[in-house]
C-alpha cells in the first residue's frame, strides 16, 4: 500500500517502529498532492516547507521516544475556516483572500502540540454556506470517485483530500451536515460531535449555536483517535463542555450485542434514491447480524427541521458576518468612496459571493421589525419540538440510523442555479445540529459506482457508543477500505 493511503493507526505503528519517518510520510503525501491536486483541487493553500520542518521536529520527538502521541508525525490539513497563525485563512471567501491570522484556532494548537504535521488549508463553500463546494470564491473541488461530480459541502476539500490520500486526516466543521455530507459523498468517515465537545475558538463562525468542529478520517478507529486529541474544555470557548473526555479507542471492541438501533420512520418516508435505500437496508441487516435490536421510531417534526435550520442560520449568519466591514481586517474596496457607509457597502458587494449575500439578506429580512415573531421566534419554538423528538426517541433506543444524504454525489453545476433544491440535499443532516447531538457518517456501500454514506445519531455525549457501533460495522464490512482510482 502507498504511504499516502495509510490509516493513522497503521502510520503510527510504522513511525514508532522506525520503519518510516515522518519526513518520508509527509513527502509521500506532498508528492501525491503534486500529482493529484491539480485534478481534485482540495487545497486552497499548501505549506510545503513548513510541513517538512514540522515533520523533522516530529522525527526528533519520535526518535527520543518521549511525549509521543498517536498523531505525532501524522500529516493532516484543516478546512480553511480555522485560523492558522501566519498562514493565509480565507474561509473560501474573497473578503478574506489575503487574510493572515495572528493566532491559531484551539484545535490547530492542540494538534500542533500533539506533533501532527499541518500540510495546508482545504477548500470549502464560502463561510460554510453550501452543500457542494461550488460556492468557494476560488474554484470547485472535484469528487475523487468521479471528477465531474461535487465532493459535497461545505467541508468538500477536506473530504476529497482524505479520500484521495492528500492528507491522512482532516479537521472540518459541521453547521448542518458540512462534515457528514461530504464524508458520505467521498466514502470516508466524518463525525459531527456533540455541540461543545470540541472548542470553536479560532473557527470563523457561521451559526454559533450549531457550529461543531470534528474529524474526517478513513476509518472509525482514526476518527476516535483524532477526537481524543481535540475534544475537551477550552477556557477560550465558554460553550465548550467541561465533561471528561473518555479514552475512545480503548472501548472500541466492546460488544454491541443487545444495543437498540432506531430507524426513524420519517427519514425513510421523506424520499431517497432507490440505490441509497437498498444500501441502507443492507446495512440494517449487518447491524442485526451483530446482535443489535432494530426497531422503528418516530421523529414527528422531521419535515420542519430544514426550514427551522435555515431560518436560524440566516439570522445568526447575518449577525456573524457583520464584522466584515473593510476597515479592520480582510478585503477593502479599491474604489474611491465618500464615506464609511459607502466603504462598507462597496466592500461587501465586492467581497461576498452570491450565496452569502442571499443568506445574510434573508437573515436581515426574517429578523426585521414585524417579521421576527413569524420567522425567527417561530423557528426557535419548533426547534424545541425537534429536540423533544430526539429526547423521546433516545428513551426507546440507543442510536438512530439514517442515510447521510438522499442521493449520491451530484454533478457539478446540477443544482447551482436553484438554491432551494440545493438546500433540500441537507434534509437528513440538519436536525442533529438543531438538537446539538452527535452523528457519525460511515461508508456503507455504492450506488452506480458512487459512495453512499449512512449516519449513526446518538444522544448528547454518546460519541463512545457511536464509535463502538461504527467500529463493529467496519470489522464486518470492507467499504471503508475502498479507495478511488483517479486517472
Amino acid at each position: 500500500m502507498e504511504l499516502y493511503n495509510l490509516s493513522i493507526r497503521k502510520a503510527h505503528e510504522l513511525l514508532v517502529k522506525k520503519q518510516i519517518s515522518s519526513v518520508e510520510l509527509t513527502s509521500a503525501v506532498l508528492a501525491n498532492i503534486h500529482r493529484l491536486d491539480p485534478k481534485i483541487r482540495a487545497y486552497l493553500t499548501v505549506v510545503e516547507q513548513r510541513a517538512l520542518e514540522q515533520a523533522r521536529k516530529a522525527d526528533i520527538r519520535l526518535h527520543s521516544r518521549e511525549n509521543i502521541t498517536p498523531l505525532t508525525g501524522i500529516p493532516y490539513a484543516v478546512k480553511d475556516c480555522f485560523s492558522t497563525r501566519g498562514i493565509r485563512t480565507t474561509c473560501g471567501s474573497k473578503i478574506l483572500q489575503d487574510y493572515i491570522p495572528q493566532y491559531s484556532a484551539s484545535v490547530v494548537e492542540k494538534l500542533n502540540n500533539a506533533g501532527a504535521v499541518l500540510l495546508g488549508k482545504h477548500n470549502m463553500d464560502e463561510f460554510g454556506m453550501g452543500s457542494s463546494c461550488e460556492n468557494s470564491a476560488f474554484f470547485n473541488t472535484h469528487n475523487p470517485w468521479n471528477l465531474e461530480r461535487v465532493p459535497g459541502g461545505s467541508s468538500g476539500g477536506s473530504a476529497a483530500s482524505v479520500s484521495a490520500g492528500l492528507s491522512l486526516f482532516a479537521i472540518g466543521e459541521d453547521t448542518g451536515g458540512s462534515i457528514r455530507m461530504p464524508a458520505g459523498f467521498c466514502n470516508i468517515v466524518g463525525l459531527k460531535p456533540t455541540y461543545g465537545r470540541v472548542s470553536r475558538y479560532g473557527h470563523i463562525a457561521l451559526v454559533s449555536s450549531f457550529d461543531s468542529v470534528g474529524p474526517l478520517t478513513q476509518d472509525v478507529y482514526d476518527c476516535a483517535t483524532v477526537l481524543q486529541t481535540i475534544a475537551g474544555k477550552d477556557p477560550k470557548d465558554g460553550t465548550s463542555l467541561p465533561d471528561p473526555v473518555p479514552i475512545y479507542t480503548t472501548s472500541l471492541e466492546k460488544s454491541i450485542n443487545g444495543l437498540r438501533l432506531g430507524i426513524p420512520r420519517e427519514y425513510f418516508q421523506a424520499g431517497m434514491e432507490a440505490g441509497v435505500e437498498t444500501v441502507l437496508q443492507d446495512a440494517i441487516r449487518v447491524f442485526e447480524k451483530l446482535g443489535m435490536q432494530v426497531q422503528e421510531v418516530s421523529l414527528p417534526h422531521t419535515r420542519a427541521a430544514l426550514p427551522v435550520y435555515y431560518l436560524i442560520l440566516f439570522a445568526e449568519a447575518s449577525a456573524n458576518l457583520a464584522r466584515f466591514d473593510g476597515t479592520r481586517f480582510g478585503y477593502s474596496t479599491n474604489q474611491k468612496v465618500e464615506s464609511v457607509i459607502d466603504l462598507i457597502l462597496q466592500t461587501r458587494q465586492e467581497g461576498f459571493g452570491e450565496e452569502v449575500k442571499r443568506r445574510i439578506m434573508l437573515g436581515a429580512y426574517t429578523l426585521s421589525a414585524g417579521y421576527y415573531d413569524a420567522y425567527y421566534l417561530k423557528a426557535q419554538k419548533v426547534r424545541s419540538l425537534i429536540r423533544e423528538d430526539f429526547r423521546s426517541a433516545f428513551e426507546k433506543c440507543d442510536v438512530l440510523l439514517a442515510p447521510t444524504c438522499p442521493t449520491t454525489a451530484f454533478k457539478i453545476g446540477e443544482k447551482k442555479q436553484d438554491p432551494l433544491t440545493m438546500y433540500l440535499s441537507d434534509i437528513f443532516v440538519v436536525a442533529t445540529n438543531l438538537a446539538g447531538v452527535p452523528a457519525l457518517s460511515l461508508p456503507c456501500g455504492f450506488s452506480e459506482g458512487l459512495p453512499v454514506g449512512m449516519q449513526l445519531i446518538g444522544n448528547h455525549l454518546s460519541e463512545e457508543i457511536l464509535f463502538q457501533i461504527g467500529y463493529a460495522y467496519q470489522a464486518e464490512t470492507e467499504w471503508h477500505n475502498m479507495h478511488p482510482l483517479i486517472t
Partner: protein
C-alpha cells in the same frame, strides 16, 4: 421605508424590499441581482410556510444549545498582541490610527 405588512399566507418579496434589506445588511446591490433575489427569496420563504402548520402556542423557544449558563473563569493577566502585530491586518492605517473615510459630513 418599512417592509409591507406581514402576509404570511402569500409571501412574496418585492424588488423594493430586496433593496431595503440589502441596505439594512450594509450590502450594495446591483439592479440585475435585485430581480433574481426577489424571485428566489419568495420561493424560499414560501417553502418555509410549512412551519405554520405546527401549533407552537404552548412551546417555549429554544434559546440555548448547551446545558450550561453563566460560565466564569478567573481573570488572568496574559500578554496581549502587540500594537504592531495588530496593525498588520488593517487595510489602511496611519501611525497607530485606523484610517477610514469620512464618518461625519460637515459640509
Amino acid at each position: 421605508m418599512v417592509i409591507s405588512p406581514i402576509d404570511t399566507a402569500t409571501p412574496s418579496i418585492s424588488t423594493d424590499t430586496v433593496r431595503y434589506i440589502a441596505y439594512l445588511i450594509r450590502l450594495k446591490i446591483l439592479d440585475e441581482e435585485t430581480k433574481v433575489f426577489s424571485q428566489q427569496f419568495s420561493q424560499i420563504i414560501e417553502y418555509f410556510q410549512l412551519l405554520n402548520e405546527i401549533d407552537t402556542r404552548e412551546v417555549p423557544p429554544a434559546n440555548e444549545n448547551c446545558p450550561m449558563n453563566n460560565v466564569f473563569r478567573d481573570d488572568q493577566v496574559l500578554p496581549s498582541m502587540s500594537r504592531e502585530e495588530f496593525l498588520n491586518n488593517l487595510p489602511q492605517h496611519e501611525g497607530y490610527y485606523v484610517k477610514v473615510p469620512l464618518i461625519f459630513d460637515d459640509r
